[in-house]
């Protein structure tokens, strides 16, 4: 039982990260029906910027927590800028083009960002400085570290903040209106371009935080770390119902738990025919299952024609 609880904790932590990243996919999709495949790279850039800042500040003697906060504080605006530039330069000129064009562009942007990062931060896997001492807490035979608690708490807070922004503010209303029908929203005096740019920027900010969290959690950052994470988060967004904000949160957490439990138990269940190396496959099995059985996802209301 304690092993099961531990696997669930592992899954929830992973799921919280997926959820944060999935939000970026789903918000952009909801508003312009674009799958922004470069979103995973924004996560990576967040991790890399934090890596550089922590590296620069570590010898300064500031308290470790402050350094990490400053690092996140630098990563967020940088990622927002990247998100904005991406939208402005790569996607806005293609607004109104056939759906395939921006999709291919997104893949191109992803490759460009990855290689830019490789030039800046080298192709080596970087050891993310572990300046905050990790405390472990035990309960019911399971272990949870301070980093895991921080990840869960921060992602909960960020998601609550996002939900409040989308459902409680004028800006959120404008976002939802634009998502619903950009032309009519425009007629109502909403600047659709501004709202779309803002959506990218907000998604990028979440991605930056996710990047810092994932790099501190695993203690490693790498220029290619964003692609796999991005794909998984995309699966999570589809699982929850792409375009649906609560769906992305639910999908992310569920996917994390499915992965952890799947990897933890598949060996025992199949008599070691399939091993834990199939961990990465679960996300894609889920993706296929959702697309076949329920294309609109768990919470999605839209029909599957947009997926």
């Amino acid at each position: 039982m304690d092993i099961f609880i531990q696997q669930v904790i592992n899954g929830l932590t992973l799921g919280a990260v997926y959820a944060m990243v999935a939000l970026g996919y789903t918000m952009v999709y909801g508003i312009i029906q674009l799958i922004n495949f470069a979103h995973g790279e924004v996560v990576m850039i967040g991790a890399m910027v934090a890596f550089s800042v922590i590296g620069a500040l570590a010898p300064s003697g500031l308290p470790p927590l402050a350094i990490v906060l400053v690092a996140a504080g630098c990563a967020i605006p940088v990622c927002m800028l990247v998100g904005y530039a991406m939208e402005r330069l790569a996607y806005r000129p293609l607004r109104g083009a056939p759906r395939l064009a921006p999709l291919i562009t997104a893949i191109g942007v992803s490759i460009i960002l990855q290689h830019l990062a490789m030039m800046i931060w080298s192709r080596n896997p970087l050891a993310f400085p572990q300046i905050i001492k990790v405390e472990s807490y035990h309960f019911a035979g399971a272990t949870i570290t301070s980093v895991q608690i921080a990840i869960l708490a921060i992602s909960l807070a960020m998601m609550a903040g996002l939900a409040a922004l989308v459902y409680r503010t004028r800006l959120g209303t404008a976002m939802r209106a634009t998502a619903h029908n950009p032309q009519v929203a425009g007629l109502m005096g909403i600047d659709a371009n501004r709202i779309i740019a803002l959506t990218f920027v907000i998604g990028a900010a979440l991605a930056a935080v996710a990047g810092v969290m994932v790099a501190s959690y695993y203690g490693i950052a790498h220029y290619a770390m964003g692609s796999q994470l991005g794909l998984k988060a995309f699966c999570a967004a589809v699982l929850g119902g792409i375009g649906n904000i609560p769906g992305a949160m639910l999908g992310g957490v569920l996917l994390g738990v499915v992965e952890a439990l799947g990897a933890g138990y598949i060996g025992d269940l199949t008599g070691n025919v399939f091993g834990s190396n199939y961990q990465d496959v679960f996300a894609f099995i889920v993706l296929i299952a959702v697309l076949v059985l329920r294309p609109s996802g768990l919470l999605g209301e839209r029909v599957g024609d947009r997926a």
Binding site: D2, I3, Q6, Q7, N10, G11, T13, L14, M118, M119, I120, S122, R123, N124, P125, A127, Q130, V134, S136, H138, T143, T145, Y218, G219, I220, H222, A224, M225, Q228, E259, A260, L261, G262, A263, G264, Y265, G267, D268, N272, G275, S276, N277, Q279, D280
Partner: protein, 405 residues
């Protein structure tokens, strides 16, 4: 910085190829240009190790050029054609073919077993000798291919070495084995398992990740429930570091042991304080036990210390050059027999090959980690375990004579 470096490399490679082609056309070239290939992953998760391998070979080539070696009565300019195999067998075969087409005289590489084994077919088919400084999977030299050599030990020597050390010193009852599903990781893990089983140790069902896995929590949590006394992981440092860190975080009380791919100082950075007390093995001797002359030259040239296999790729390149010199020809048909019978004092000690192309009497080293630094604790040679200090004391500068050439 990286970009400019990369650009220079690319240009150097292009110049190398074109220079080579022109020399062939010219009737009586004043100098003989001999191209030597070097293949390792220069992008991806272990690019740092790939660059280290390339640097080793590059240093050897540059020294040979500085020494103004004459082959066939002509002044000789060696060119190093460095290629990136991206740790991928398909790309590895492509660059191997590219080097064959560029008519290289010999190849240093590849880094990984998974790329070296398929590529060796191509080199051998084209009668171009290859010497790897780091591929340890036995299969490489077990297929009777001509002209395939390695200057490091094999997994079936390394696996038993680390397993025996574990049995003798940790005395585990239950051991969990994990690998990264690569030819290297799996092969090494298999050898460890064989030795442990033979020693009567219970080995749990194999767990696997991939060579990109950073989330090991699910696997480790499962293992924690089985309470192993020791864990062995066959894989590289960029995955082994997170594995070790997460294992300690989850409270897995076991000695973590690794093969050479995860026997680098990077483990201390990736895993932090969790890395203290790990056990790992390296085929051959540690880079810091290579000849002082090599270490100084490397530091001077690249402004950094060798990470892992640079001394071996340095020796591999030197072996090619030395064999060409002795045969007085860069034609593989002429110098290959010389290489097969060579007896060479390299930066990693004395090198000669058995009939398969494996290095005779290859040493294995067992390390632990203390305060983020790897400490060699034992050297295993021909089945005998010697404490590291004793080894250093008795081997008086094994390679002082690199200078000879």
């Amino acid at each position: 910085m990286i970009r400019s470096h990369f650009g220079v490399l690319a240009i150097a490679a292009m110049v190398g190829v074109s220079a080579c082609g022109e020399d062939k056309k010219a009737q009586a070239p004043a100098t003989l240009t001999i191209a030597i290939g070097s293949v390792a992953p220069l992008t991806g998760g272990i690019a740092h190790l790939g660059k280290d391998n390339e640097n080793g070979a590059r240093l050897a080539v540059e020294e040979a050029n500085a020494a103004k070696i004459r082959i066939g009565g002509k002044e000789t300019a060696f060119e190093l054609l460095a290629e990136d195999d991206q740790e991928d067998a398909k790309v590895g075969n492509t660059v191997a073919q590219k080097l064959v087409d560029a008519k290289v005289a010999g190849v240093v590489g590849h880094l990984n077993s998974g790329t070296s084994i398929p590529a060796s077919n191509i080199y051998s088919g084209a009668n171009i000798p290859m010497i790897t400084g780091s591929a340890t999977n036995p299969e490489l030299t077990e297929r009777g291919l001509k002209g395939v050599f390695r200057v490091v030990g094999r997994d079936d020597q390394q696996g038993p070495a680390v397993a025996n050390y574990l049995v003798a010193n940790t005395k585990p009852k239950v051991v969990a084995i994990i690998d990264d599903a690569t030819a290297y990781g799996k092969g090494l893990a298999n050898e460890v398992e064989k030795t442990l089983t033979a020693a009567g140790v219970k080995v749990l069902a194999r767990e696997q990740g991939t060579n990109k896995t950073v989330d090991w929590k699910a696997v480790l949590t499962k293992l924690k429930g089985r309470a192993p006394d020791a864990v062995f992981y066959g894989g590289m440092d960029s995955t082994a570091g997170p594995l070790l860190k997460q294992g300690k975080e989850l409270g897995v009380k076991a000695v973590f042991s690794f093969g050479d791919g995860a026997c680098t100082d990077k483990m201390g950075e990736f895993a932090g304080s969790a890395a203290d007390g790990l056990l790992c093995s390296q085929a051959g001797i540690p880079p810091q036990a290579a000849s002082k002359k090599f270490l100084d030259a490397y530091k001077k040239r690249f402004n950094t210390d060798p990470i892992l296999y640079a001394p071996f790729t340095y020796d591999a390149a030197n072996l090619l050059i030395e064999a060409m010199k002795q045969a007085n020809s860069a034609d593989p048909a002429r110098y290959l027999p010389v290489l097969q019978k060579i007896d060479f004092a390299g930066a990693t000690g004395r090198i000669s090959f058995d009939e398969k192309g494996d290095r005779k009497d290859a040493e294995m080293t067992i390390f632990t980690m203390k305060g983020g630094k790897l400490l060699p604790i034992a050297i295993i040679k021909s089945g005998k375990t010697v404490k590291y200090e004793d080894f250093v004391a008795q081997s008086t500068a094994p390679a002082a004579d690199v200078a000879k050439k």
